[in-house]
């Protein structure tokens, strides 16, 4: 919110559109107060038509505006698949560099909130699989603000995938202007025995697991938060792998062709001789998001499960 406000203040080309972002202040109140401050020319309620308003935003971006589209759920991006995963990433290439698409699409992309299989997708791997798209998954309030500001200032389409469960997390967020650059991972916890690579809420889960592993097993875990899925900060991951020699990848993405499949490949390719055991992965259980709340909780990585996988990785 602060990010959008500051950026709208800084640059009058920045505008917001989406379902219920103006009068209702956003489904999750992320855009609260923006309508009053910047008016209905820059904070626009759209019809329930993702394909329509994202196409509109791409056009606006090509013409020089810097639109931010809120998706009520990233799951609804599938309605606008052609616009978001086909047009947005390819305009610059197809136009021979004549037109840029400085577009930000943001909204929640997470399971675990009992909204059913069709509302719980985490398509960061789709986006990362698409040349021309950038995708970030902030885990902390600090990163959320810094990454969103970097996304708004970027001249290419950036997908910001937030997590509604983390909306309630409180964290230190400086009032001043700062950005978290795209493509820079963050070591959220230093350790020597095991590297856990995670993104989004899986980072928070892994940090909790790291505390348990330290307290109950004396194991020092290093937690690398990717922050950006693409561009990917390979060096920070590799540096940690070279230090600990053991790797566990944790994500809320589905396992098959998930983000961590790529990370795993990258590590074995570039740090093979530093591995003291197979890379292990913990992803969401490979099934549609389960509607039963108790089962849904078990579908996603949770700290105790991460601990179990970590111990297994260290065998």
């Amino acid at each position: 919110m602060q990010a959008m406000e500051e950026e709208m203040e800084r640059d009058d080309k920045v505008m917001i559109m989406g379902e219920e972002v103006a009068q209702f202040k956003g489904s999750y109140k992320v855009t609260e107060g923006l309508l009053e401050r910047f008016g209905d020319k820059r904070v626009i309620d759209t019809p329930i038509s993702e394909a329509g308003f994202t196409g509109l935003a791409i056009g606006a971006a090509m013409m020089g505006l810097r639109p931010i589209c809120e998706l009520m759920f990233w799951s609804f991006s599938y309605v606008a698949f052609d616009q978001l995963f086909n047009n947005a990433p390819n305009v610059r290439y197809m136009s021979g560099g004549l037109a840029n698409v400085p577009l930000v699409i943001r909204g929640p992309a997470n399971g675990g909130t009992n909204v059913g299989a069709t509302h719980s997708h985490t398509p960061e791997n789709f986006a990362a699989n698409t040349p021309g798209l950038k995708v970030v998954c902030p885990a902390t309030p600090y990163d959320a603000k810094g990454l969103l500001k970097a996304a708004i200032r970027d001249n290419d389409p950036v997908f910001v995938m937030e997590n509604t469960i983390l909306y309630n997390d409180k964290g230190e967020v400086p009032e001043e202007d700062y950005i978290v650059p795209l493509g820079v991972a963050d070591v959220k916890r230093e350790g020597t025995d095991l590297t856990i690579v995670a993104h989004g809420r899986a980072t928070i889960t892994s940090l909790k697991a790291a505390e348990i592993l330290k307290a109950e097993h004396g194991i020092d875990v290093e937690v690398v938060d990717l922050r950006s899925i693409r561009p990917l900060d390979e060096e920070t991951i590799l540096k940690s792998v070279r230090k600990t020699n053991r790797v566990l990848l944790v994500e809320e993405n589905k396992p098959f062709c998930g983000v961590d499949a790529q990370i795993s490949h990258m590590i074995q390719e570039k740090a093979f001789d530093y591995l003291d055991g197979p890379i292990k992965r913990l992803s969401a259980v490979d099934a549609p998001a389960i509607y039963s709340p108790p089962l849904e909780k078990l579908q996603l990585p949770y700290p105790e499960l991460v601990v179990k996988y970590a111990l297994d990785t260290l065998r």
Binding site: T192, D273, L314
Partner: protein, 442 residues
């Protein structure tokens, strides 16, 4: 020219030898074949033999010292010869294993080995546990090692085939290579934290002295092998009750006559275990699937029964093996078991007398233990656990309650090789043979 006598590898699993006593003193003349010292390995006490002729110039290792394989034990040379130990050992300190704290007067101050007093206890245990030569990788000729372990071994010039892997499936990992080089594990511990010491407050006199007891080589091996078995082998357990009245009568009859005779006339005193070993060999003949081993990508079937027998010794347990038990009679099995058990108690078993078992029998029948289930002695597919014979009320063939003499026999099996029905068939065969003991006289 002075020659170094170093610690030989006296058993498959040995990594260090403890010098028990010197049989020759400094200044003694040595002939090739002379026994110069007694060395305790993880399994037995053995004599160290000299292959050189000369004068024992120096006893480098002290009594009680643990010397790693290849470490310097003694120097032999010509009378009056000056020796330069550093030159003899190539400038390197002899590979002496970090030693326990010993009494000051036992320490050889002139031994040039680097004395590491601090981390001695744990690192020694690590070495003993992790440098055991493993048979697993040899099965397909490949040495399993992590990429990092390979790189480290290459850098340090270590032959990975001599390193025991502690990872899954025997994979050699970084810690194993470091242990093999004797290097400290360094700052990067893999998380095994020492258990916190528990403050003891006792009222009354203590039952034993508090403190950490050093691990004997045998204790390390027992811990490692049984941990491996119980965590890697999917055990399942079957139990049967055997009517041993006929067996007890047969044994009493035989012993009544045979124990009176001198040995040269065939005098012998047979134990219940002798009969059980013979009956087990016969049962394995009927259900040979149990006489096999899991081989990873195959099942190893054994054509002969080499019967391991668990024997309790002072500070642990050893399993001597009766070779070709299927081809031997009760008398011979009895004689061999007596000899092997005697050697076991005196720690005189040779490595080849403790290897190659295809099945193992463990008996606690001398204790009031009515039944139990042993941990499989890998690579066996099963272990028989023999309880004591007890008198109890039983229902006979005429539905009458009578006094019976019963023994409970448990079988632990490796489910990868032996399924429930096969295990049951084996115990059924064993029960039939034991209940008609005349069958094993043939």
């Amino acid at each position: 020219m002075a020659t170094v006598i170093d610690m030989p590898k006296l058993s498959d699993t040995m990594t260090v030898g403890t010098l028990i006593s010197w049989l020759k003193n400094e200044g003694d003349a040595i002939e090739p074949g002379d026994l110069i010292a007694e060395v305790e390995t993880d399994k037995a006490t053995m004599e160290l033999e000299a292959f050189e002729e000369g004068i024992l110039l120096k006893q480098v290792a002290g009594v009680g010292d643990q010397v790693a394989i290849g470490g310097v034990v003694a120097v032999i040379g010509e009378k009056g010869e000056k020796i330069d130990l550093e030159a003899l050992t190539g400038g390197a300190a002899p590979a002496e294993a970090p030693k326990e704290e010993t009494k000051a007067d036992e320490q050889k101050a002139e031994a040039p080995a680097a004395k590491e007093e601090g981390p001695a206890e744990t690192s020694k245990a690590d070495v003993a546990a992790s440098t055991e030569v493993l048979s697993a990788p040899a099965s397909d000729g490949r040495v399993k090692a992590s990429p990092l372990a390979r790189k480290l071994a290459e850098k340090k010039g270590i032959d990975l085939s001599t390193v025991k892997g502690s990872g899954p499936g025997g994979r050699i990992v970084k810690a194993d290579v470091e242990a093999a080089t004797g290097a400290p594990a360094g700052a990067q511990s893999t998380g095994s934290s020492a258990p916190a010491s528990i403050p003891m407050t006792s009222s009354g006199s203590a039952i034993a002295e508090d403190g950490k007891l050093p691990l004997s080589g045998m204790r390390s091996i027992i811990a490692q092998r049984l941990m491996e078995s119980k965590s890697q082998v999917p055990h399942f357990y079957l139990e049967t009750e055997v009517d041993v009245a006929p067996l007890m009568k047969l044994r009493a009859d035989l012993n009544a006559h045979l124990s009176q005779l001198p040995p040269e006339q065939g005098g012998i005193k047979l134990t219940v275990t002798d009969f059980i070993l013979k009956a087990t060999a016969e049962a394995l003949r009927r259900v040979p699937q149990v006489n096999s081993a899991w081989g990873g990508d195959h099942v190893q079937q054994y054509g002969a029964v080499h019967m391991g027998v668990a024997v309790a010794v002072d500070d642990g347990l050893v399993v001597p093996v009766i070779q070709d038990a299927h081809a031997k009679g009760v008398r011979q099995i009895s004689a061999e078991l007596k000899e092997l058990a005697g050697k076991a108690k005196n720690k005189k078993l040779k490595p080849n007398e403790m290897s190659g078992s295809t099945f193992t029998v463990s008996s606690l029948g001398m204790f009031p233990i009515t039944g139990f289930f042993g941990i499989i002695n890998q690579p066996n597919a099963g272990i028989l656990s023999v309880g004591t014979a007890i008198k109890k009320p039983v229902v006979d063939a005429n539905d009458q309650i009578v006094v019976g003499n019963r023994m409970t026999i448990g079988g632990s099996f490796d489910h990868r090789v032996v399924d429930g029905a096969v295990g049951a068939m084996f115990l059924k065969a064993l029960k039939e043979i034991l209940e008609t003991p005349a069958l094993i006289l043939l």
